[in-house]
């Protein structure tokens, strides 16, 4: 099985390289779109769950673990769907554990190290806010499976956003130390938010089909919401300057390969095993 997986990996790298020359099919676009959603949830959950057992106090430890649990569940649903779309005999686990970093489409912001608690919370609030508006639209997708996952996720994300927003407020308008930590986090993370709204050929094909979401609309709502939250929290919203980019082409920060090395170690060490 491993040889087959490696072979498929090489093939998909080759097809990624030659993608510029051939028009993508709807099925290929849908596969990549679903991977993007699955990978973003999977890698973020991987990061968030590093806090389990190490949170600043017990209630918060539980809340963050709960968020990790919800987004791992979402990752699983998206990757199962992706495996079905691809229809080459790979399972959701194969997609999670046997692709390399140049085949992951998660937004780079999810793979950044957690940093201190303010940084973890600010990032989570940024993504929760994105997810809230994104899933609200995706719930209306013509693709019933994506719409279904989005509907389930909205309920969870509404709670996550309420929770993380309340902490952004506490940090911003708490002590001088918490304010500075939160502002530093906002300043440093802002350059990774542009990527969330990037669209490429995948989006173009699927928007025509009524499947994907036009992210320009989400961007406006996200921007307004974040501006309001930061103002309420006495934090300054950075200017939209230089934005990091790459994940739509499966190009990542240096952190992702380490995350995968840890996450994929067991299945790759025992490729014939079932767990």
């Amino acid at each position: 099985m491993l040889k087959q997986v490696q072979h498929d990996n090489i093939k998909s790298v080759k097809s990624a390289i030659s993608a510029g020359h051939k028009k993508m099919t709807i099925q290929e676009a849908l596969f990549q779109y679903t991977l993007r959603l699955g990978d973003t949830n999977l890698i973020l959950s991987q990061r968030i769950s590093e806090w389990t057992g190490h949170g600043p106090f017990l209630e918060e430890d539980l809340a963050l673990t709960n968020i990790a649990l919800d987004i791992t569940g979402a990752a699983k649903s998206f990757l199962e769907y992706a495996a079905g779309i691809e229809n080459k005999g790979r399972s959701a686990d194969d997609l999670a554990y046997f692709r390399n970093d140049r085949q992951f489409y998660n937004a780079q912001i999810t793979e950044l190290p957690n940093g201190d608690y303010a940084r973890t919370i600010v990032r989570q609030a940024m993504i929760d806010c994105f997810d809230f508006y994104f899933y609200t639209e995706l719930a209306k997708s013509k693709d019933e499976t994506l719409a279904g996952i989005a509907q389930k996720s909205i309920k969870e994300v509404t709670y996550h956003l309420r929770h993380t927003s309340s902490w952004v407020e506490r940090f911003g308008d708490g002590t001088e130390e918490s304010h500075n930590k939160a502002q530093t986090a906002v300043n440093e993370l802002w350059q990774y938010t542009g990527e969330l709204f990037e669209m490429n050929e995948v989006d173009e094909i699927l928007i025509k089909e009524g499947i994907a979401i036009d992210l320009n609309g989400v961007k406006t709502k996200w921007g307004n919401h974040m501006a309001g939250l930061l103002e309420k929290s006495t934090l300054i919203k950075p200017e939209n300057g230089y934005m990091q980019t790459g994940s739509r082409k499966a190009i990542h920060t240096e952190h992702l390969a380490f995350i995968l090395a840890e996450m994929q170690a067991l299945p790759r060490m025992y490729p014939d095993a079932k767990w």
Binding site: S45, L58, T72, A92, D116, G174, S178
Partner: protein, 313 residues
């Protein structure tokens, strides 16, 4: 009422199998015993999150990751109910945590052993949670109301965890040769530490007598240990694994297995701080608490500001 009358009411409740509630009078040593036991139990849940949390980012399937996250979250939840139950006895969470962080309070010594492989996550669920349930089932009927009620919920979740642990062991034992070897290795390392979880032999157990009198405990350490062995051996056989005890033998007369005692010298050594992970577990708890100080301060400062705004309005 005279003190003797209070004592009569208390003894009467015990005799009639009624619950003692937070506002009821209770003897000081009953209160002390309960604070010690409930907080030790709460600390065990919280420290227990560490060896299991150790494998969340390396869980080998998406399902295994979801199940493990949920399990560790449950353990944290148990810690929360138990701290709350202890607080009803007149001690604060800060004080309880301080006792843990300074090493004054104990937690279950089993969590001073490392989880080295994925099979250890199976073994912890199956054996450690299995042993914990055996200790805890009787606590659902314990005399102190808040503790008994917390235990009802905890036992339900623990038995679920035990099944999940056994499921991991089943996958491994019926999997590839490497997986089966991993399962056997985990059983070898966890068997005796699990047996130690029931506490020292009855002849050397200083807290048992009062605990049974007060219905905080209903069976002795040795009785529970025997029950655990009797229950677990057939499960080991089903898995096709071997209990690491050459003296293990069915004894028809006592309708139970004869077994080797765990190494009680090691038990005392680990309890007194010299186990594989004692220092790192305590360091991890202290680090999380210390690094979380500014978070808790921010929350308090924010709440104070909001209160002032509200009162001024």
């Amino acid at each position: 009422m005279e003190l003797t009358q209070f004592e009569d009411v208390f003894e009467g409740k015990l005799a009639k199998n009624e619950m003692v509630e937070p506002k009821d009078w209770m003897p000081d040593n009953y209160r002390k015993h309960l604070i010690r036991q409930i907080s030790q139990h709460a600390h065990s849940e919280i420290v227990g999150m560490l060896p299991e949390g150790n494998w969340i980012t390396r869980a080998p399937s998406l399902r295994a990751k979801v199940v493990l996250l949920a399990k560790v979250q449950d353990e944290g939840g148990h810690g929360l109910y138990l701290y709350t139950a202890a607080e009803t006895l007149g001690i604060s969470r800060d004080e309880l945590l301080n006792n843990l962080h300074t090493g004054k309070a104990k937690y279950s010594s089993i969590f001073n052993y490392p989880t080295l492989t994925w099979a250890d996550i199976g073994a912890v669920g199956w054996l450690v949670d299995g042993a914990a349930i055996m200790n805890q089932v009787m606590l659902q009927r314990t005399s102190y109301g808040p503790y008994a009620r917390a235990m009802v919920r905890i036992c339900k979740e623990e038995s679920f965890h035990q099944r999940q642990g056994f499921e991991i062991m089943t996958h491994l034992s019926f999997g590839t040769a490497d997986q089966k070897a991993m399962a056997q290795d985990a059983l070898n390392r966890w068997w005796y530490p699990t047996m130690m979880m029931f506490g020292p032999p009855d002849s050397e157990s200083p807290n048992s007598e009062n605990a049974i009198k007060w219905r905080i405990k209903r069976e002795t350490n040795d009785q529970l240990r025997q029950k655990f062995v009797n229950q677990t051996v057939p499960q080991v056989e089903y898995l096709g694994l071997t209990v690491p005890d050459a003296n293990l033998k069915w004894n028809e007369d006592k309708k139970g297995y004869d077994y080797s005692e765990p190494n009680w010298v090691e038990f005392k050594s680990v309890i007194s701080g010299n186990g594989p992970c004692n220092k790192q577990r305590l360091l991890a708890r202290n680090k999380a608490h210390d690094e979380g100080a500014w978070v808790r301060e921010a929350a308090q400062a924010f709440a104070k500001k909001r209160k002032e705004i509200y009162e001024a309005a």
